[in-house]
Amino acid sequence: MLWAYILIYVPILLFVVAFLYETYLSFLRLKGPKKEKRGYVDATWEVTHTLLVFGVVMLLMLFTKSIDRIAEVIFISTFWAAVFLGLRGALYIYIFYVRKKPTINWMDWAFALSHVFAALLLVVTALSASWLLITEKPEANLQFIPVFLPGLALILAVIALPIMSLYKNK
């Protein structure tokens, strides 16, 4: 059971750290856009998002027997988080790909605030799911773990160097 929790919470914690950093940058750039690197992360954007997806997929797939209960508890906060993540994605594309002038306007504020709202809603999701796991102790699909872990170790070995290089050069 310990592995189930590790697979859920480690990526979520890593995501929280990376996402907080991106949130910090999104507010930092409101002081004035930098020409270089556009004042915001580029290359690691999708890696950060992948960590969230990883954690959520582990939560849902390891506890499929109780998925209706989990869905009931996290439905509203998760979908609204998805709305704000979608808004953040659309604004990200607009600000960094479409807009021609390096200016700061209401879109940049909306972009920064979408980080905060998404983060808050994801915290609600994480806390609600954790509370359910603690209080109801649902049965996990532990049979997946011996199959999943060796592959994950291999994948982590493959991506370790690239990931270090990415974050180092960011």
């Binding site: 690691t44 999708e46 849902l60 027997k65 998760t78 594309i93 997946f144 199959v147 991506i159």
Partner: protein, 446 residues
């Protein structure tokens, strides 16, 4: 309940319809980009390298959009339709988990690939290898997701004894016949769709150019790219045709009610004809203009004209798929037939009368068919998904049973389609901006 179910189905349909466009580009562009980069390295051609680099920017943008829409679908599968995983999570949960492997590989190597184009410490071949890893990540991800869809169409890899799962074989579920058949048929379909669409963009540029300027060095590159993309599309089209035959045989054997609905084949019979045109009249007949190709459905189903093909009458009325999918099938087959003429026509013209490739009518014709592949993919998936109805997991869980019982999804049913439109618009504007930037560059490849 009926209203909520409809709203949830519309939400899922909108999400998949939108997402699949980004998926097909997200799967094809890595292949095309690494191919062009490979040619650039082998020929020491900086122009081809610039082409690969330009398209990699579009690829990265579309992957961002695809990830966003994909996340929403993953959430819907779990939160809106918990009944699917509640029933089959023990069997099919693992492929969902394995998708994260491929997701990680794709995300990390895409970021690395994009950030090292001008890095002198990264050799050309190492950079190309990063691209290959993106192809591995995206294709692997496509396989596991397709395997889940295949499992929903034909659940395998388990027995149910006394109402409980027994003899669970996750690998059998992951590598089931429908998973393999759907994968080998859908992948070439994506390649055709994206390859043809990009060819259309280049052909459109040629179409807009004055005939006298078409021989310039700049347009020679365009012609070269069109030729390579057409070759790519043609190969994919051949694979698509071969695997379509496999799909027909698979359906006849394993999902006969879907094939019967696609062909409005009401009665079980030998020498079953292929019906072209017409719509179901609601009384077990066909109305509107149509014609039949004798024994062709039997031939498609099992390679012999006399073979018996199961009709809709074998399936209880309330378990039959909606019969309007026959019209989707007709439209799809019409578009495929046109492509089966146009794509070889390009090569015949290029071989026999290459000067005709400057003809505006011909160029306009290529532009006109360039979106057909996208429509074919959309129609194909609609046939697959609507053709499984009323089941979510065929034979076990209906769509109504799979739907969440605790929340009304109507609000999100309106919100997400609107969000998709915004995302689509922003992505279009971003691509247009990338093209403008490329055109403004010295030595631009556009």
């Amino acid at each position: 309940m009926e209203h909520t179910l409809t709203a949830a189905r519309v939400l899922m349909g909108d999400s998949l319809g939108f997402h699949i466009i980004f998926v097909l580009f997200g799967l094809t562009l890595p292949v095309l980009v690494v191919w062009f980069e490979y040619m650039a390295i082998r020929r020491k051609d900086s122009k081809l390298r610039d082409v690969a680099k330009f398209w990699s920017k579009i690829m990265a943008l579309l992957v961002i959009t695809g990830v966003l829409s994909g996340t929403v679908i993953a959430l819907q599968m779990s939160l809106v339709w918990p009944g699917i995983l509640k029933f089959g999570g023990e069997v099919i949960g693992l492929p969902f988990m394995l998708e994260t492997y491929f997701f990680l590989i794709e995300a990390v190597f895409l970021a690395l690939y994009m950030s090292t184009w001008e890095n002198k410490r990264v050799s050309a071949w190492l950079h190309w290898f990063f691209g290959i890893m993106i192809v591995l990540g995206s294709t692997g991800s496509a396989y596991v997701i397709t395997s889940i869809n295949g499992w929903m169409n034909l659940p395998t890899g388990f027995d149910i004894i006394d109402g409980k799962f027994a003899n669970v074989d996750v690998l059998a579920a992951m590598f089931s016949t429908p998973a393999l058949v759907t994968f080998v048929h859908s992948m070439p379909g994506y390649y055709v769709a994206a390859g043809l669409f990009i060819t259309g963009l280049y052909t459109w540029r040629l179409f807009k150019t004055r005939k006298s300027e078409l021989g310039s060095a700049k347009h020679k590159l365009d012609y070269f790219i069109v030729q390579k993309l057409m070759l790519f599309t043609a190969v994919a089209l051949v694979f698509s045709a071969i695997t379509a035959d496999l799909t027909g045989k698979y359906l006849a054997q394993n999902e006969p009610e879907k094939l019967a609905a696609l062909e409005l084949n009401y009665e079980t019979r030998s020498n079953a004809p292929l019906l072209i045109g017409g719509v179901a009249d609601g009384n077990g007949g066909v109305m509107g203009p149509y014609f039949e190709i004798p024994s062709a459905l039997s031939l498609l189903a099992c390679n012999t004209p006399g073979c018996t093909v199961e009709g809709l009458s074998e399936t209880a009325k309330d378990l039959q798929p909606p019969l309007y999918i026959h019209t989707f099938f007709d439209i799809k087959m019409t578009l495929i037939t046109i492509l089966a003429v146009v794509v070889p026509l390009y090569f015949i013209v290029r071989w026999k009368r290459p000067e005709l490739l400057r003809n505006k009518l011909l160029l306009g014709g290529f532009v006109a068919v360039s979106w057909f592949g996208l429509a074919i993919v959309e129609l194909g998936w609609m046939m697959t998904e609507i053709g499984r109805q009323p089941w979510a997991v065929r034979g076990y869980v209906t769509t109504a049973e799979a739907l969440t019982k605790t929340h009304d999804v109507s609000t999100f049913g309106y919100l997400f389609p609107a969000a998709y439109v915004v995302l689509f618009l922003v992505t279009y504007l971003a691509i247009r901006q990338l093209i403008k930037q490329e055109k403004a560059k010295k030595g631009a490849v556009l």
